[in-house]
Symmetry: C2
Subunit: 258 residues, 2 copies
């Protein structure tokens, strides 16, 4: 029983490059992807990789060291694959409060695996993470890096874009035909109901551990009156913010594959 | 915007005691629950708590220090609550490979929040956690403690029991009218399909990162022939073991609340 199956990390390495190589047209990898192949995976000249453009296409290639850069070379016969967005993602845009360190990384990873199309981090009044200090850029880069890493791991072809963080009122400026807001029973709203997962794009807003603030609730009330959003009920128990998100992402996937 | 809402940890403490106090019949807390109230939450004589029996009932009570023990006292007028199992759990028994440290704790916590009824840890041939060294008891106690902690956090009333670990063949000895096994496309089985979530009890088996072993697959084939299990497909992407579990738990909850 000790002969473990070949470890996943021994699968052919996957590498993101926005423009894929074609026969006779090698492409140069950006520094961070090159460093990963060289220093972490210790790949050598001629080793096979799978190059993905993050927009739905991949192609098998070999790596070629040229001085301090790494290039990808492919041929006419190299296997390639292309998938439409719908085939591997759900029509879900997750608008979620920025969670504390590990929970946020974890959530992003799971969002990619479960096929979420786009993730919008919300800076909520009662959120606990202050991103102003380190600068928004720092966070967005880190989150996108986590998402891209998960992309390769789960063999997804379309990048999940992590947007810049925004407040609830800013997020609501992006009009969505179907937007649901997860509301705790204690927030004093009635008429919450289970989300209907449709084939069309769906935005779902999920608040921080501390709940929505009174001023955010006022904004929701105004939007509700105008029919711009619906209130979502997520079952009988008290869910943490990341569990609520997972529940919504999983339900969207379940609706899609059924 | 800085006046954060009262922190969740300031909610009234919840405490597990298998036999609830009634008017005139105080009960003595076990050592670990008493220590938690005393040393972690620093509660004082007369402080209110909510006592839950883990079997569907809770009652408001006050704590009373008596020498080195803590007792719970309640009265006729104290609010109480009782819920049937169906009201707050899904009919899901999750039979899942033992995952590495954090992933397992995390999975157990989420399972409680998402209403899983029972969790059976599987010792799989390709699993990565060796529990024999530290002894099974140690692990089961730790897992149950995590589950009970989550129980209080999410205000669930029915304990999620974490069973003793067992092998796949042993787990299959427990006959289940509806058992699904999550199979990777690469395992060479055909006819996997999305799980049908029913009102009846449903067992779902999820393997380790490394997949099922050939001998486990043989066992599944034999069970399949006899109609004792079905093969589950979990969507187009490659899910990690914990994501697959979350997907299944969430889908069961979604099916229940819809």
């Amino acid at each position: 029983m000790n002969s473990k199956r070949q470890n996943r990390s021994h699968r052919i390495a996957r590498v993101l490059c926005p423009i894929l190589p074609t026969a006779g047209r090698p492409v140069c990898l950006d520094e961070s992807e090159a460093n990963h192949l060289h220093q972490v995976l210790r790949l050598r000249n001629g080793d096979p990789v799978i190059a993905l453009d993050g927009k739905g296409a991949e192609v098998s290639a070999q790596i070629q060291y040229r001085e301090k850069t790494i290039w990808l070379v492919t041929g006419m016969q190299n296997p390639s694959r292309r998938l439409p967005l719908d085939a591997e993602t759900t029509p879900l845009v997750l608008e979620v409060a920025i969670l504390k360190g590990d929970a946020m990384s974890w959530l992003i990873e799971k969002a990619v695996e479960l096929g979420v199309r786009r993730l919008v981090p919300l800076e909520c009044d009662y959120g606990v993470v202050e991103i102003a200090k380190k600068g928004t850029e720092h966070f967005v880069e880190r989150w996108q890096r986590i998402a891209d890493q998960a992309l390769k791991q789960c063999e997804r072809l379309h990048q999940m874009k992590v947007d810049s963080p925004r407040s609830v009122p800013e997020a609501l400026k992006e009009r969505a035909p179907h937007r649901w807001v997860a509301i705790e029973p204690s927030a004093g709203f009635t008429e919450a109901r289970p989300i209907e997962f449709l084939a069309q794009e769906l935005h779902v807003m999920i608040g921080p551990e501390g709940g929505w603030s009174p001023s955010e609730c006022d904004v929701f009330r105004a939007e509700l009156k105008q029919g711009h959003l619906k209130l979502a009920s997520l079952g009988p128990l008290v869910l943490r913010a990341e569990t609520a998100s997972l529940f919504v992402m999983s339900s969207a996937l379940q609706a899609k594959i059924n």
